[in-house]
Symmetry: C2
Subunit: 424 residues, 2 copies
Amino acid sequence: MTSVQEKIEAANQLVCKRMMEAEPVLIDVRKCLDVVPGMLQNMILHSGPPITWDRMGQPQKNGILGAMLFEGLARDPKEAEGAIRSGKILLAPCHEHSTVGSMAGVTSASMQVFVVKNQAQNNMSFHQIFEPGENMFTFGIYNEKILEDYRFMNGTWAQAMAAGVRASGGINLRNIIARALTMGDECHNRCGAGTYQFTLELIHAMSEAGVDAKMLGLFARTAKEHPIFFLFLNMAAAKNIADAGHGVNYSTVVTALCRNGVDFGIRVSGLGDRWFTAPAPEIEGLYFSSQWGKADASPDMGDSSITETIGLGATVMSNAPALLQTVGSTLEEARRYTQEMYELTVTKNPNFLLPAWDFQGTPLGIDIRKVVQTNVTPIIDTGIAAKKGGFIGIGLCRAPMQAFQKALVAFGEQYLGDADSGKG
Amino acid sequence: MTSVQEKIEAANQLVCKRMMEAEPVLIDVRKCLDVVPGMLQNMILHSGPPITWDRMGQPQKNGILGAMLFEGLARDPKEAEGAIRSGKILLAPCHEHSTVGSMAGVTSASMQVFVVKNQAQNNMSFHQIFEPGENMFTFGIYNEKILEDYRFMNGTWAQAMAAGVRASGGINLRNIIARALTMGDECHNRCGAGTYQFTLELIHAMSEAGVDAKMLGLFARTAKEHPIFFLFLNMAAAKNIADAGHGVNYSTVVTALCRNGVDFGIRVSGLGDRWFTAPAPEIEGLYFSSQWGKADASPDMGDSSITETIGLGATVMSNAPALLQTVGSTLEEARRYTQEMYELTVTKNPNFLLPAWDFQGTPLGIDIRKVVQTNVTPIIDTGIAAKKGGFIGIGLCRAPMQAFQKALVAFGEQYLGDADSGKG
């Protein structure tokens, strides 16, 4: 008779096998309402686990107000807030709609989204298209200039990308990530190699699709000025891979790590769509100006830790040493983080090799049992939003242990009935 | 009274200061005959130190024959060879014309060249523009298809680049190299990060200059397909930096390492334009197919070791670990090479920082005294040409000690007269 222990091992192997088979490809750029499952005209998606308006932090609130003005769902912030409180506007986590969102994670019905398809298992993932600036909805800022930028971006800019992506027959994100890992990206806060590769492929495709030279030049300039561009595709690809492993009974593998600026939430493959939460941690980091410090910083926020969920980001920062100075870390520390992650995970991903680790694969499949046992949680590198809104720094934090402990308790409750019968 | 020892130290510091100040910027794309100093209609430039036609290896001969057909200097190889033997066609090293050339290094009068200017000291350097294939003149291959490619490349392709470079006001190569070193390039056999950055900047500039979308798309595709593209600009930039330090009396710093497939030659800052040569070494490497081996390989060839001359290339391969498998090396070995190079050089270059070495600068200023003293010569990573022509592998070799010994003897002869008077 198979013991629970054996069932768990088999389930975790299956989850990792599916994650390794997953092959995320960007297949289209489309309007959110038309492609994101369960999306509604009067719905705004946000990052992290579910949260009510009243508990929400100011940067995320600001992002939502900005999105409502962009959508024409309200004439001013006061009306917008009234509509949310009255229930006319619905708030929901990106993650519950196959979507991820950076920082505030604000995604609304008429925003254009990247459409990513896993060629192996056919599951879809989404992220709204790039915001070509830093102080945007996602960092809790909105104003007339930003609304104007959103209109341009979701109009001709998105149309040009859509034309290119369709003409290309799909842009393979797994290949781009694999190569980016040989070029100093950790694929969360350092994304230049992904951005450059992706943009060149996109420019070639757009030229084939008949997009004009001026627009091609704009994409080239954007890639140089905003090397973070590819983060949103790293995130959509990571979500695509993580979801490929979600929903396997008996698996103790984590399939989402995310934060809304108040709560940190995790999901586990064998525990369905439940969230296990704990307070979002503070970030230890470097600020862009001496005028800012910890007192100004929002706690950890955003779905970008989906990259760490599948073993990218801070967990492999030791393979991207140029990032270390930016986040205030050292090579020695970074190597310890990677080593820890190898101890928390089920296997190594042969699709993503780390040159600085003698071409070993990235750590794959965070096991909540190992996290609780070793008393070590995954490390995350992340942007810092100001409490008032704005992008003020970059740093590191740890996923909170409490979330993993709660998940392990829930796992025991759900599966220990079976365990009894298998014990004899 | 200043001792010879002190004069040497001061001279070497000056050489390195000039090299560190040097700021190579791509300012134009022009016809070789119009810009390369001393170039003649009936002259063909080649890589490495001077060599006669009879002693020349077959790949370099083939490249020269191809270039003569391209120039219309002969109707067929036989006529071409006759013209060379009769002295109607002159052969000269690229290096003696402020130019460098990859592999065979063949550069002829009507070929378009990158024009690189050192913004600090105003010296100029040149390299013929990219050959968008691998089996070209430079690897000792010519045929009708290749001649056709050269016509296209030196026509509309070069015109588009020229328009972009002029519109940009100059593309700063030092900045691109600095960033490439944080993205896994060692800037000799791994150049993808440089290629991607450069191409995006160029595409943006070309779009401003009114180049059409189809051509922009072609550049984007070429960058993806030929990540080696930027090597020629790395080489021109390195030549620009090395020449900034050339010609300082009493300096024992090497300002050129190059090979013509038969001889390996070095130049030293304090020894004028003399070459010190030794037989070109064999390359230890990996072949692209099992049909090839050492017996098929030309000895070391090309001016690309100008990158190692200024402390890039194999000497810092430990900072570009993704290259290691390609050349058949290991991280441990590569770190030893970098450590050796720190011991052979005068200083560290603060313009080029190595993340994998805790952001220390690249080793700068190879001192022939230290080379001879430690009995260690610089390591070089390089492409392997077949004896018959063709690109068949990549590997590593050592600069031959004999060249450094000869240079040190010459240095003694030239400067020891002074030494006697300073000894008291």
